[in-house]
């Protein structure tokens, strides 16, 4: 049973993705019998490639994938270099969870309201500093180059990369590396990039590819912050698949395949750049140069990190203020009249969706966690780590654009005859939750010294007893963290919930996004905060529970994690 775990996991992840991909690939060649298209051909592809603006869409998606990943990685590394083993490092650790917990769409919406010409910042500064009585006609949000889109993505991806970078620091002996390099006379930044990054980067590779994939293919953030015409490719695909003219489904399918190609190309470019950088970097590491713009970069990190926190905080504050606003006109810095109406409206409708959100998140995360634990425990017992290819499969759902395979997935569920509903939705969530659970838990699990379980076995306990009595309690803290991440991922799912639930199942996220279509910022604010509350609670619990549980076990606090 345990031995089958890795293959079971691979099947759970690869099966739907493959089926979904097929569901996009086949119609892209003109085959969709339900609409009377039953001959294969290249006409759809010709239509797609001659679509006005398609080049711009492709370029935009490609660029936002590469640029977001590059910037996020650079910032994450800079922050770690600047703050590692300082007092601020504790703050950095603590800031990650809430930043991660805010759903993408809510964060994007908050940022949009923060930086718009009629947004919160402009209101705080007008008219006394800017002289604006009316918002200026400036294109900041949804700019053509996608800068605001990338900024929004970076805001969410930096915490993610920090999270995955923090986990293996102990494993690669970052402290010792830094001390050694500093003792050899290297500056803090140079020491980090020359001695820690080379060991850390290989462990970040797959998460970075996931960042590229997400940034080049996401919809939530792109709809709010991305340029509108031409839009990023994924948004264009969504428009096609939502076009009342059903024949556009064919172009949508081809577009989804193209999206997959764009994402793959962006990752390929990254891999190529990575090779070159590694080669160049070796010479640089061995050059003996002791500094790397120490003061400049140090200052940059000390400015940018608080700036990131501040903009996230101000954005959420602005959203929170909107949620209590009855009247809030430009350039008033705060609402002129307040109300609880929006919260009443949330309260009237939220109880059902809240329950559904919670049970689906618990079921999907619980199942994912069980599978990941089974796989890791199997790995520990056999002493064989999952192969590279198998590991890639775990990341497949993160690497393949959602828009590309979800339609095919619905088709598959229908063909098998699984009725849409909660069970199917929870199963669908597993596809996206499991990779993140694996990502957050696997390093800690593998880092656990095998001597512990050996010792326990020499004391006469069987393998399964050792798992429950020794291994699991010792990785309890990272397991809770993985659980919280899984909950947050599940809670944030929109497309899967809609498509596999046939829209019958309302979660706080589907409610929030349905109402976002109405455009009332105050209501959107209330819902976005409601949507963020659950993951924040999850993270808070994941942080607090071990402290409470292990308050008399100092060895469990800090030793693992």
């Amino acid at each position: 049973m345990l031995r089958a775990a890795p293959y079971l996991v691979a099947a759970i992840l690869a099966g739907p993705v493959a089926a979904g991909a097929l569901g996009a690939l086949v119609p892209s060649f003109g085959f969709l019998p339900a609409l009377g298209h039953d001959a294969f051909g290249l006409a759809v592809w010709r239509d797609l490639l001659s679509w006005p603006g398609i080049g711009g869409s492709v370029l935009l998606s490609f660029a936002s994938g590469i640029v977001t990943a590059g910037l996020s990685l650079a910032l994450a590394m800079l922050f770690l270099a600047v703050f590692f083993e300082t007092r601020a490092f504790i703050w950095l650790r603590k800031a990650i969870a809430p930043l991660l917990a805010v759903p993408h769409a809510a964060a994007a919406f908050a940022l949009a309201f923060l930086i718009a010409p009629s947004g919160f910042l402009a209101r705080l500064l007008s008219p006394w500093a800017t002289g604006w009585q009316r918002p200026p006609d400036l294109l900041i949000v949804q700019d053509e180059l996608g800068l605001s889109l990338m900024a929004g993505l970076v805001m969410k991806e930096v915490p993610f990369l920090l999270l995955v970078a923090l986990a293996p620091l102990a494993q690669i002996h970052a402290v010792e590396r830094m001390r050694m390099a500093r003792a050899l006379g290297y500056g803090r930044i140079a020491a980090w990039f020359k001695t820690v990054v080379p060991a850390l980067y290989p462990l970040l590779r797959l998460p970075i590819y996931a960042v590229i994939a997400y940034s080049s293919a996401n919809i939530d953030v792109a709809l709010i912050l991305g340029p509108v015409s031409p839009p990023p490719l994924a948004v264009q695909v969504l428009r096609w698949s939502n076009d009342p003219e059903l024949d556009y489904r064919l172009i949508a399918a081809a577009g989804a395949v193209l999206q997959f190609g764009v994402t793959a190309a962006a990752i390929a470019l990254w891999v190529a750049a990575e090779r070159i950088l590694i080669t160049l970097g070796r010479g640089w590491i061995e050059s003996g140069n002791r500094t790397l713009a120490e003061q400049g970069l140090g200052l940059l990190g000390r400015v940018l990190f608080p700036a990131l926190l501040l903009s996230a905080g101000l954005g959420i504050l602005a959203l929170g203020l909107s949620a209590f606003a009855r009247v809030w006109r430009f350039p008033d810095p705060f609402p002129s009249r307040w109300t609880l109406e929006h919260w009443q409206s949330v309260g009237d409708t939220a109880s059902g969706p809240l329950g559904a959100t919670i049970w689906i998140a618990l079921a999907a995360t619980g199942l994912s966690l069980a599978l990941v634990l089974a796989m890791l425990e199997n790995e520990r017992r056999t002493g064989r780590r999952a192969g590279r290819a198998l590991e890639l499969v775990f990341y497949l759902p993160l690497l393949v654009p959602q828009i590309g395979f979800l339609f095919g997935l619905v088709l598959l569920a229908e063909l098998i005859g699984i009725a849409p509903g909660g069970g199917l939705v929870a199963a669908g969530h597993v596809i996206f939750v499991l990779p993140y659970v694996y990502l957050t838990l696997s390093e800690s699990y593998r880092r656990l010294d095998p001597a512990w379980s050996r010792l326990a076995r020499t004391l006469g306990h069987s393998e399964s007893r050792v798992f429950w009595k020794v291994t699991l309690p010792m990785v309890f803290t990272p397991t809770l963290a993985a659980f919280a991440v899984g909950l947050a991922v599940s809670i944030g799912q929109y497309l899967v919930t809609r498509l596999l639930g046939a829209g019958r199942l309302d979660t706080v996220t589907t409610e929030a996004i349905a109402l976002a279509a109405g455009g009332d910022r105050r209501l959107i604010g209330a819902w976005a905060l409601t949507q963020a509350v659950l993951p924040v609670l999850g993270f808070a619990l994941a942080l607090a529970a071990p402290r409470l549980l292990w308050r008399h076990r100092r060895g469990m606090l800090g030793a693992v994690q």
Binding site: G383, A451, W452, R454, L455, A456, R457, T458, L459, G460, H461, S462, E463, K469, V470, P473, M474, F476, W550, H552, R553, R554, G555, M556, A559
Partner: protein, 209 residues
């Protein structure tokens, strides 16, 4: 059939390179010291006896304990206790919890016995303590106690004194050997400290690289 721990034609190889061969019997209460430089296969030998040898190591030969062949038994059925460099008290359990975890299930008055044993080892009232708050010497004694209470039939010691402060080392060492001898356990000690070997007072095997 003899009592004690018998290594019969044991050969351990790493891929194709032979690491060690050993044919030895360790009588109850006797300590066999295995010495040798790093990489000579000392710890691998202990892994083999305890039942944890994994690829790429290969082993042949038999391990007999009190006459029974345990070569292929699962580790938990071998009744072979281990002591490491670190005391390795489970950090999620109290000191008492660590002892109880080691004691066989189904015995009467386990808690009382654990408390009495702690007192005998100079750790009176330590049952509810967090292992992280113990001094090095206290932790070592607790680890030894856990091993003894698990009622093993043999003990394997993997450089158990190497991390101890100098002034503690002699005390702990003699304390440990006395207790093992009292319990009549056949013991194998792996070390590269000649003082350890001397204090153990038993036969010594030198492994070459």
């Amino acid at each position: 059939m003899t009592g004690g721990l018998v290594l019969e034609g044991v050969r351990i190889a790493l891929e194709n390179r032979e690491l060690l061969t050993l044919d030895k019997a360790v009588a109850p209460g006797e300590v066999l010291t295995v010495m040798g430089p790093s990489g000579s296969g000392k710890s691998t030998l202990l892994s083999f006896i305890a039942g944890f040898l994994t690829a790429p190591f290969l082993a042949t030969g038999r391990v007999l304990l009190d006459g029974a062949d345990i070569t292929h038994a699962p580790p938990e059925a071998r009744h072979v206790g281990l002591l490491f460099q670190d005391p390795m008290l489970f950090p999620h359990l109290s000191v008492g919890g660590n002892l109880l975890f080691g004691m066989p299930a189904g015995r009467p008055v386990r808690k009382t016995r654990a408390a009495e044993a702690l007192a005998r080892f100079g750790l009176e009232g330590f049952a509810d303590r967090d292992p992280a708050t113990l001094s090095g010497g206290q932790a070592s004694r607790a680890a030894l106690l856990r091993l003894l209470l698990s009622e093993p039939r043999a003990a394997l010691l993997d450089e158990p004194f190497s991390k101890l402060d100098r002034h503690l080392r002699a005390d702990i060492r003699s304390f440990t050997f006395e207790r093992l001898r009292e319990a009549g356990l056949p013991t194998i000690l792996v070390t590269h400290d000649a003082e350890d070997a001397e204090a153990a007072g038993g036969p010594v095997v030198e492994l070459a690289l």
